[in-house]
């Protein structure tokens, strides 16, 4: 299969039903993507496919053919969110961290400052058993301020029909 991995073209021979998670870890040697539950519940294996977060444990690698895949190794290690996670102690055991960072990257890079509610929603699919989430949410907001300045215009309030009961 051919795809783009962390910005570079990649070609490899894998069974088309093999999980993208296993292709990344075993065939590509990128073990930053973690397997947590293996059933799409915990978000530890989150990667970006064409910019959108997905759980790589539920994706046959054939579906990533021709796509742009970003794993945690695709961030340079000094992404504002990675630095903020260290600053705010948003990681303890670290298993959920790569998935959390990739799930929140879009919010951090978007120009508008996300509300806490928005951050919580974006990370609802990522379970963390160590931090209690508060430090992670702080890190996301802090990284946004770092990248765009603390006075970035805040995101429009969630529309009524989206706000829920």
């Amino acid at each position: 299969m051919k795809f783009t991995l962390n910005g570079a073209p990649r070609e490899l021979d894998a069974h088309p039903l093999k999980r993208l998670l296993d292709v990344l870890r075993e065939d590509c040697g990128l073990t930053g993507t973690k397997e947590g539950c293996g059933e799409g519940e915990c978000g530890a294996c989150t990667v970006l496919v064409d910019g959108e977060p997905v759980v790589s444990c539920l994706m046959p690698c054939a579906q990533a053919e021709g796509c742009d895949v970003i794993t945690i190794e695709g961030l340079a290690g000094n992404h504002p969110l990675q630095l903020a996670m260290m600053r705010e102690v948003g990681a303890q055991c670290g298993i959920c961290t790569p998935g959390v960072i990739l799930a929140a990257r879009g919010l951090v890079e978007a120009a508008r400052r996300p509300t806490l509610e928005r951050v919580r929603e974006a990370l609802a699919g990522n379970l963390c058993r160590c931090t209690g989430y508060e430090a992670i949410h702080r890190a996301v907001l802090s990284a946004h301020a770092e990248l765009h300045g603390p006075s970035a215009k805040s995101a429009a309030p969630v529309p009524a029909e989206e706000a829920g009961a």
Partner: protein, 273 residues
């Protein structure tokens, strides 16, 4: 994954005709879209099949559009796409709400409407919405398309009228008149399968549907009849008790589900008054 997939095969179709041909010529082939049910089954050691057909290249089936008065939702539309669609937001806000409460963002980016229908779990979050919207399921097969009323689509627990050589290609939703209301009750807000899921419409005609209280998602004709005939909510809840059959399972108990189902119908009735 507990099930070894190496002996299995995967075909990828580029056109609907090619997909239907594969289903016809290779019986037992399992269609794949978001994989959020099939890959969970494989993880748990299940074998949904040994031949798989990936549909995700059929981009025409991702479209959400309108046709005359009807909202037409392509089977490959994801939960994220449902939330973003201006047509769905304007016409079927209860479906937007249901889509928001499926899994987390990652699952919403992968899971599809067609998959929710095909999987046929009585806990499927979008299903009560289609039940109260009187939607039609559009099936494509060797002899062309046919439409089946959603409320006649399921014949039993995870059983439907879809033939193995047919694919769900769309859901068509007529205009829904009245206030729409959706509520899912699970262990936590995200990433939890429903203990009970409810959708209701209150207009000239009140329509109610519940998931996870019977082998399939169910409309509640007797409860509706009481309310549409001017009966009280207490009378309606007595009718409700006779038309649901919840069970004890790993997520909840029959008794709890009965209580929650009644609370949801009562809450719907006062919230939409």
């Amino acid at each position: 994954m507990r099930t070894a997939t190496a002996p299995f095969t995967l075909r990828r179709a580029r056109t609907l005709d090619a997909a239907l041909k594969i289903l016809r010529e290779e019986p037992g082939t399992v269609p794949l879209a978001g994989c959020t049910d099939v890959y969970v089954a494989l993880e748990f050691g299940g074998t949904p099949g040994s031949r798989y057909l990936d549909l995700t290249r059929l981009s025409a089936l991702k479209r959400i559009t309108t046709s005359g008065e009807k909202l037409v939702i392509g089977a490959l539309a994801t939960y994220t796409e449902l939330q973003k669609s201006r047509f769905v937001r304007a016409r079927l806000p209860m479906l937007v709400e249901a889509a928001r409460l499926v899994g987390g963002v990652q699952i919403q980016n992968m899971g599809t409407v067609g998959g929710n229908l095909a999987n046929g779990s009585p806990a499927g979050d979008t299903l009560p919405v289609f039940a109260v919207a009187d939607a039609d399921v559009v099936l494509a097969g060797p002899d062309g398309e046919r439409r089946v009323p959603f409320n006649a689509f399921y014949t039993g627990y995870r059983k439907s009228v879809r033939r193995p050589d047919e694919l769900i290609v769309a859901v068509e939703v007529p205009p829904v008149i009245g206030k729409q209301w959706f509520r899912k009750v699970g262990t936590r807000a995200a990433q939890a399968i429903s203990k009970v899921v409810f959708a209701g419409v209150r207009g000239l005609e009140t329509r109610l549907a519940l998931g996870s209280v019977a082998p399939t998602v169910v409309r509640l004709p007797n409860t509706e009849m009481v309310l549409n005939g001017g009966g009280s909510i207490d009378e309606a809840l007595r009718a409700l008790a006779d038309e649901i059959q919840p069970i004890d399972d790993l997520r909840s108990t029959a008794a709890y589900r009965r209580g929650v189902a009644a609370n949801l119908v009562r809450q719907f009735w006062s919230a939409t008054a």
